[in-house]
């Protein structure tokens, strides 16, 4: 990772249609720090992550970001007709991190699924694949949207290990979840 990663939100507001989901949100995270975003369904957790990722423009406020971002969203963005290995390789090649892919797949226990088409995956397996892509991306800032969805206990442990390793290397994790995901966050954001 190049240079210390940093993420700062200043007075962020989110407007969806006519509804104001949140406003005046401040958050500052440095290298190795993490935030857990909680809140009811529809409170704007996913919108906040999409704003940090640059996919949504904030209605007000400012986002300062140092470091590359990886977004693990609800939509898997894996070609359903392809074997998992090939589907993940497409993204790893875009990121220029093909070398990190086998390790990332092993970290989420996906090695045995390499040749299985993504269409046949269960919810949990698909989530593990998305997390593996996030690990392999080598990005400094991980944005995890409900990363625990559909994961079994063993996979949740693997997720916790991966997040701890990422934070240990000076990364940043922002996770939105309404279930425990084994993250001891530096800050907690309630929407």
């Amino acid at each position: 990772m190049s240079g210390p990663a940093r993420l700062a939100l200043h007075g962020l507001a989110c407007l969806r249609g006519d509804r104001l989901l949140f406003e005046g949100l401040d958050l500052a995270l440095g290298a190795g720090e993490s935030a857990l975003v909680t809140g009811a369904n529809g409170a704007g957790k996913s919108s906040l992550l999409r704003m940090i990722a640059g996919l949504l423009a904030p209605a007000a406020g400012r986002i300062d970001r140092v470091g590359a971002v990886a977004l693990a969203a609800e939509a898997p963005a894996l070609d359903a007709d392809r074997p998992l290995g090939r589907a993940l390789t497409f993204w790893a090649e875009l990121d220029g991190t093909s070398g990190a892919l086998p390790g990332a797949m092993a970290a989420m226990d996906l090695a045995t699924l390499t040749d299985v088409p993504v269409a046949m995956f269960s919810t949990g397996q698909r989530k593990r694949a998305v997390i593996a892509r996030t690990i392999a991306s080598g990005a400094d800032i991980w944005l995890l949207d409900e990363p625990g969805n559909g994961l079994d206990t063993a996979a949740l442990d693997r997720l916790a290990t991966a997040m701890a390793a990422h934070l240990g290397q000076g990364g940043i994790v922002v996770a939105a979840s309404h279930q425990p995901i084994g993250l001891t966050p530096t800050r907690e954001v309630r929407l």
């Binding site: 999409r50 990722a53 640059g54 996919l55 949504l56 971002v69 990886a70 977004l71 969203a73 609800e74 939509a75 898997p76 963005a77 894996l78 070609d79 359903a80 007709d81 497409f90 993204w91 090649e93 875009l94 990121d95």
Partner: protein
């Protein structure tokens, strides 16, 4: 550039692997096969109207892939992931346009050879038709992509896509069919100009539509 190549290659692969790229071709050949049955075996008549009919068939064939160009990638989050990686929506549009034309234009021009034979077009007419398609199919591909981006976030958009796309395609049809005439050099130039305008504008339309759809 590397990302654009990767996206274009992926689109090409999906087009052929899932059969989406073959559909317009089959449709085009089917029209050419059915027409002599409907109009009757009058060789002179078929030769006179065949070129224009093939242009109409090409235009309608261009509509078929609209639903698979953008909507699946929007729904699967692929476009979001590309944007998060710093790829601009316009670059996505250029990559997708290149891939779509490669899957659509050259195969259609190859299919024109048997189709023209079925309609009894003579060699000179086939040459003019092929030249017109070489200039016009990029425009048709661009129109299909722009329409796909505009209707991508709507459900059941295929009927709407026809309404959006066909009126804008009329100039391509007029100049394309006009260029079939022996004195159609002017129409050929206008066809090229229309096609160029569509190709140049589509990445920006696609980019704006993708950004607005994310809203």
């Amino acid at each position: 550039m590397k990302a654009m190549t990767a996206v274009a290659l992926r689109d090409l692969r999906i087009g052929w692997a899932q059969g989406g790229a073959a559909l317009p071709l089959i449709f085009y050949l089917l029209v050419a096969t059915l027409l002599p049955f409907a109009i009757g075996p009058d060789k002179a008549l078929l030769g006179r109207i065949g070129g224009g009919l093939l242009w109409t068939a090409a235009l309608l064939a261009a509509l078929l892939p609209v639903e698979r160009l953008i909507a699946p990638d929007l729904n699967s989050g692929t476009i979001d992931q590309l944007v998060v990686r710093g790829m601009s929506e316009e670059a996505i549009g250029i990559a997708k346009l290149a891939a779509h034309w490669l899957a659509f234009g050259p195969p259609l021009m190859i299919a024109t050879i048997p189709a023209a034979a079925l309609l009894g077009l003579d060699g000179a007419a086939v040459a003019r038709l092929e030249a017109g398609l070489a200039l016009g199919t990029p425009g048709l591909a661009a129109l299909a992509l722009g329409t796909a981006a505009l209707t991508g976030s709507l459900r059941g958009a295929s009927a709407l896509a026809g309404l959006v796309m066909l009126p804008i395609a009329i100039p391509l049809l007029i100049f394309g069919a006009g260029a079939l005439d022996e004195t159609g050099a002017g129409a050929m130039k206008l066809l090229a100009a229309t096609s160029l305008l569509l190709v140049a504008g589509t990445p920006f339309v696609t980019g704006a539509a993708l950004r607005a759809g994310r809203g």
